[in-house]
Each structure stands twice: as structure tokens, then as C-alpha cells.
Symmetry: C2
Subunit: 133 residues, 2 copies
């Protein structure tokens, strides 16, 4: 059996950015995938709230900083290669997706095209008062 | 409300490779994250079995091709940005991880270090008869 490294995610892989999956701790629904760098990971652990790194905005993204829909982290896991992070979270407001759905994976691929299967929790225009950029 | 694009994952993002999450269709457990290119995605849809692209081996990776532990795809989703794929799968053999655990996320990050929380389903040395490279 291979030895278990005692260090956490290996940010040297993936050029300093690793994918992080957020899963609803209660329902098990996969809510979203975003990216973390070492700094956002450290802040996630220290604050207990999910902090990602926005690749488009090139800065830390404190999930819910604008909408108030923060993710309270219940548990953190790493995969066998230590290059993916899994967070079990409590999603405040009930919706992880900026489009107002519980999950960002609200569309299913079907032979007839994409079909909306998710439940809309809020109206984005009422939650976001400025452009997300 | 934004229009819903009728195309599926946008492989132009991520240099042709997108992360794909495999989730157990029954238990909801997040099993693993791997990557897909357009070819592996198309083969996944046409065969109903998960096919990834191995970044280390630089070739299609038909999950279970060696171990027999294929993933039968029950449903496919894309996220709001169409740059992440979610598969709901039936994991043949009960274990997605090459280390023999149900999930690749078998280690939890705790203040005392990594703690094994997953359940070992098989002994890798008895399943893989050659080096995985």
C-alpha cells in the first residue's frame, strides 16, 4: 500500500490552480466546479467559507461576496492524486449558480439538445446589482 | 434570461480539455474527476460508457479498460459556462479509484492531517496486472 502523504492539495500541479468541486452536504447534489490556488485554499480552511480563484477576473473570489450566498464548508477532501479538491458545503440561499439555480449543472444533455432540469431558486437580476464582469 | 445554447460542452475553452466529474447515480457520492476532449466526450455519448482523456498518457482512457470497472453513464450534464461536465454513472465493481476505494476522494483534510474516510472495495494489486504508467 502506498504511503499517504500528509500534505494537502499539490498546487504545483495544474500551474498553481486546481479544480474544486462543491457538493451540497445535505442533498449530495454537485453544485459547481471552480478553481483554487494555494491562497484561496488557505483562506477557505481558515474562514470555513469557500474561497475560489477566478480565472477570468484573476483574483480571489469569495463565493457569495456580492450575493450573500456564501458556502459554509462542512468538510474538505482531496483525491488520490491530490490534484482535485472536494468541498462539502452548506449553500446559503439555496443556490450556487449565478443564474439562480441550485446547481450550475442545471442542464442535461439529451438527444434533443440541452434540457433544463434544475430548479430556479432566485432571479439573478434581483440578486446581482452590478455586472459580474 | 439568457438564451440557452443548444450545443453541449465548449471544448474551445480549456485548450480542448474540460474537467468531467463522475458522480454515483445511486448514492450521490462524487467518485472522481478526470478530463475529456471532444473525442472522448463523443465516444462517451455513443457508447454509454465513460471515456476520458488521460493527460499523463496523452490518449483516450476508456475507464475500466484494464480493471473491467467501467462506468455506465446514466445522465450527462453541463454547467452554466459549458466548461465542466457532470456524469451520473453506475460504477461497475463498486470502486472508481485505482487505489481500490469507492471514490478517489477517500481522504479528508483535518487539522491533524489527511484522514482516510473511504471504504476500500478491492486490492489494486489483484485487479491491475500491469503497471498503469
Amino acid at each position: 500500500m502506498p504511503s499517504i502523504p500528509e500534505t494537502a492539495p499539490d498546487f504545483a500541479r495544474g500551474d498553481g490552480l486546481l479544480p474544486a468541486i462543491a457538493q451540497d452536504a445535505d442533498s449530495g447534489a454537485v453544485l459547481m466546479l471552480a478553481y483554487m490556488n494555494a491562497e484561496s485554499y488557505a483562506e477557505t480552511l481558515s474562514t470555513g467559507r469557500a474561497v475560489y480563484y477566478s480565472r477570468s477576473r484573476k483574483r480571489l473570489w469569495r463565493k457569495g461576496e456580492e450575493s450573500g450566498h456564501v458556502q459554509q464548508v462542512q468538510a474538505v477532501y482531496v483525491d488520490c492524486d491530490r490534484d482535485t479538491i472536494l468541498l462539502k458545503v452548506h449553500q446559503v440561499g439555496g443556490a450556487a449558480c449565478h443564474e439562480g439555480y441550485q446547481s450550475c449543472f442545471f442542464r442535461q444533455v439529451t438527444p434533443e439538445g440541452l434540457r433544463i432540469v434544475g430548479r430556479k431558486v432566485f432571479d439573478p437580476e434581483k440578486v446581482y446589482t452590478k455586472d459580474r464582469g
